[in-house]
Amino acid sequence: MQKIGVFVCHCGTNIAATVDVKKVVELVRYEPGVVFADDYMYMCSEAGQEKIIEAIKEYGLTGLVICSCSPRMHEKTFRACAEKAGLNPYMVEVANIREQCSWIHKDKEEATKKAVILARAAIAKVNLNTPLQEGESPVTKRALVIGGGIAGIQTALDIADAGYEVDIVEKEPSIGGRMSQFDKTFPTLDCASCILTPKMVEVNQHPNITLYTYSEVEKVSGYVGNFDVDIRKKARSVDFGKCTGCGECQTKGPLGKIGNIPSEFDRGLKNRPAIYMPFAQAVPAVPVIDRENCTYFKTGKCGVCAKICPSKAVDYEQQDEIVTVKYGAIVVATGFDIINLDKYGEYAYNECPDVITSIELERLMNAAGPTGGHLERMSDHKAPKEIVFIQCVGSRCDDDKGKPYCSKVCCMYTAKHAMLIKDHWPDTNITVFYIDVRTPGKNFDEFYRRAVEQYHVNYIKGQVGKVKPQPDGSIIVQAADLLDGKQINKKCDMVVLAAAIEPNPGVRKIATMLTASIDNNNFLTEAHAKLRPVESPTAGIFLSGMAQGPKDIPETVSQAGAAAVKVVGLLAKDKLKTNPCTAQCDTLLCNGCSTCANVCPYGAITYEDVQVNDHGLRETRRVAQVNVALCQGCGACTSACPSGAMDLQGFSNRQITTEVDAICR
């Protein structure tokens, strides 16, 4: 049986004016478990707290009920006060008789009655309270960044600069990501590689950063502060130590420098050989052999690259390697891709080489791209004179074909493309079919207006019904002009599609490994959309870049920095304090049915086969185990559990039931 002290606060007149405080004291004095009850003007004041401490010592109190303002206000205060007197802070319950009683009721008798009932509920609860201990878990001072695009690069640099070790895992042979494919960036039109390459080099040279390129995360276990991650380093077939990055190997293969494999980097607009570096500024500057397409790996014959390599770096015998590394925090920066356009037959993308995506246009306009920066039609290599841009291809769709969201960057990059084309080839006519032009952002609307006003880009609010390639090589775009209400048949010689962006398809697998939640569109979910936008609900997992949602480069970079700060904030701690109000499984009642794990937003519940002794019956059972470092104490599992095995400390089934009983008494 507890020895409970009840302390009723007047809060000046805030409570006392409507609640007869003395009467409350008299009426709760005889509740089961109560050994002491008193009132005071300001319970939270130093004198008030002193009173509590004295009573704890004098009466050997084991539990406290403070009838005062909201626990959201002073629960911490009173818990600290209890702790000072040597009482476990979780043996304190607060009855909210100010915000939820005296302030909203006028009739003193009624308010007093209610205050007594609220106090009784709190007393009944404290009778079932048990001392809870905050747990501690150590922190591995190393972070993992998954994805080596601009988001991952920036996050890694910021963490590394703060003095912590960080590893980047990138599945491609080089870091750089999508940004390295871009030509110029809006709204300043500076060259993407000019601003990105220095950062890539910095990453490569940073003493705190380890790069795992051509590598993938294979398995994740553990929890915040203590993740164990298996990284698969795919066989590069080129010895990192020996290769000097001279590039000789890529020139003399079966098809020389041209190769016959569509280059991923150039979006298939150009070919590459089987041994390749994706692009000239690749980091690391070490080629890989694409084994699926290599003649040697396919037929056992060839071996030319090995013969010509001056440093004998080519190693056909190399094997995939799995390294296991411990991390304290993980940042997901897996970025995006554009949607597959197979479902959009009306745009003739698969049919006509002159219907291209915006990202292909980036490559076509890039000096290092397949055409050396000359904008030309892929069909006849002639310069296009009439170009149509189609917006929202698969964005803002209400059917199953596309995505319901706005891809956010298309309006801006289309204006950028239009202006760049007009700058280089002023005699080109450009028409943009849009649904809405969205330009919120610093200098964004000015940028768009320049395209319309200075460059005379023809913006038509209208939806494109069909893109029809013509036998003469031209293309007719059928559209409705929504403002004029007219049907348009626009003849042109190139069509550029602003295809919707989507999270990198690999993110689903990674999210599952990390037990990080993702939304219906496969974007990672934030812990709180407004207040914790760079954290995943799963503790220790952070979000950076497009993996979380569509955003442009400056936003990505700022989010990357924010994620880095959160990581640093975590790594700076030697120990993590864990919330003691966590779920707990009664292994004797647990069925091992996994229902609780299905509703846990934090992946805090795992299953283990344990040996139990159920009143003398010994057997091995599959039971739930709660990782208290991950559990945030929401209690979703407790309501899902049919047998009542899963319970929440501090808000246990019996505690809440007894509160209900006390109120209904």
Binding site: R29, Y30, P32, V35, E58, H615, L617
Partner: protein
């Protein structure tokens, strides 16, 4: 000998209910169970077996024993906080126990079959021997049992193996015996209690001169059927007093218990099972302490802080039948704690029952 037309039974019920509480089989929501009759209720004496037996009449499924509440002792309040501090364990409230009123009005249990009447004897041996159960005793003293012959026994019946006569309830310890023959209920008081009841309601009856011959005919008919019942010859050899060791250690249990769900159906429909649990229910006016039937088939039966003496369903299953066929006879001059009513035969969800157990042991020889 009295009789009354079956069409007129409501008049009989009314007459009884005028002076007594009338507890009898009543049909509601498609099933017939014992309940208190009131005007408009559908009395049903044609259904051979009520689902639950009539044991609720004396040993209801739930029965309040007493209530407890806390009272503040004013003296301590007056003494104030200083006096409280002085005391080691300040007593400021005390518990007040309020017993419930025992049954003190006569009531009639109408339509009990001979097997259920025998079951009362079985329970008497438990509740009326020292220490006497006052709640049961008061009901027994005030209950008047009107038994009814079983016109057409069914295949699940096996009362005859316990020397119970379904044809003649006057042999059972009933206060009144009745028969339903050709649309008439024949009424024969046996005990003083029965006579007193009959006297009170005699105006609803007619005198029937042919009664005895009719009843003899009915008895012969019933006996004829009883002999044909599939379990009429079931042998209880090997069971009874002092067979504990032999039966307890038998390997047969392992074979017969497997299908058992551990539910309480058999126990709760049984007229002789008399185990109960005592529980508290907290209300705003204090704690109500009640007892309710419990089943030895339940996994939490006799669960204690230190664990359980029967941990497996095999042990629980064995307990129930050992109690009925060995332990009880051992303590009660060979009387079995089964009356062959066959309710468990009909109602066990898995079709396990005492008959199968008896047969399984017989086959094993």
């Amino acid at each position: 000998m009295y009789s009354i037309s079956k069409d007129n039974l409501n008049a009989l019920y009314s007459a009884i209910a005028g002076s007594y509480d009338l507890f009898m089989p009543i049909k509601a929501a498609g099933q017939t169970n014992y309940g208190f009759w009131s005007e408009g209720a559908e009395g049903d004496i044609d259904t051979l077996k009520t689902i639950k037996s009539g044991k609720d009449a004396f040993f209801p499924q739930v029965e309040q024993l007493y209530t407890v509440n806390r009272e503040i002792v004013p003296a301590d309040v007056a003494a104030g906080p200083e006096a409280e501090k002085a005391a080691d364990t300040p007593v400021r409230t005390k518990l007040k126990v309020n017993p419930v009123k025992l049954v003190d009005n006569d009531f009639v249990i109408f339509g009990m079959r001979a097997c259920d009447v025998r079951a009362i004897e079985v329970m008497d041996n438990v509740f009326l021997t020292d220490p006497v159960d006052n709640y049961y005793k008061s009901r027994r003293e005030h209950g008047i049992v009107v038994a009814l012959a079983c016109h057409e026994p069914e295949e699940s019946c096996f009362c005859t193996i316990f020397d119970i006569d379904p044809a003649d309830p006057s042999k059972a310890k009933a206060d009144v015996a009745t028969w339903v023959i050709d649309g008439k209920l024949y009424w024969k008081p046996i005990t003083e209690k029965g006579e007193a009841l009959t006297a009170k309601i005699s105006s609803v009856f007619e005198d029937d001169a042919d009664a005895d011959s009719k009843i003899d005919g009915e008895k012969a008919y019933i006996e004829g059927i009883a002999k044909q019942l599939p379990n009429a010859e079931l042998s209880l050899e090997g069971w009874g007093a002092d067979k504990t060791d032999e039966k307890f250690k038998s390997e047969v249990w392992e074979k017969v218990y497997k299908g058992c769900l551990g539910c309480g159906t058999c126990t709760f429909v049984c007229p002789t099972c008399q185990c109960y649990d005592i529980k508290d229910y907290t209300t705003k006016d204090g704690i109500q302490r009640y007892r309710c039937w419990d089943s030895c088939m339940y996994s939490d039966f006799t669960l204690m802080a230190g664990g359980q003496n029967r941990q497996t369903q095999l042990q629980r299953f064995r307990q129930r039948f050992m109690h009925k066929l060995v332990y009880y006879p051992t303590n009660n001059d060979g009387m079995f704690m089964c009356v062959g009513c066959g309710r468990c035969v009909e109602k066990c969800p898995q079709s396990l029952n005492i008959v199968k157990v008896i047969k399984a042991f017989a086959d094993n020889k």
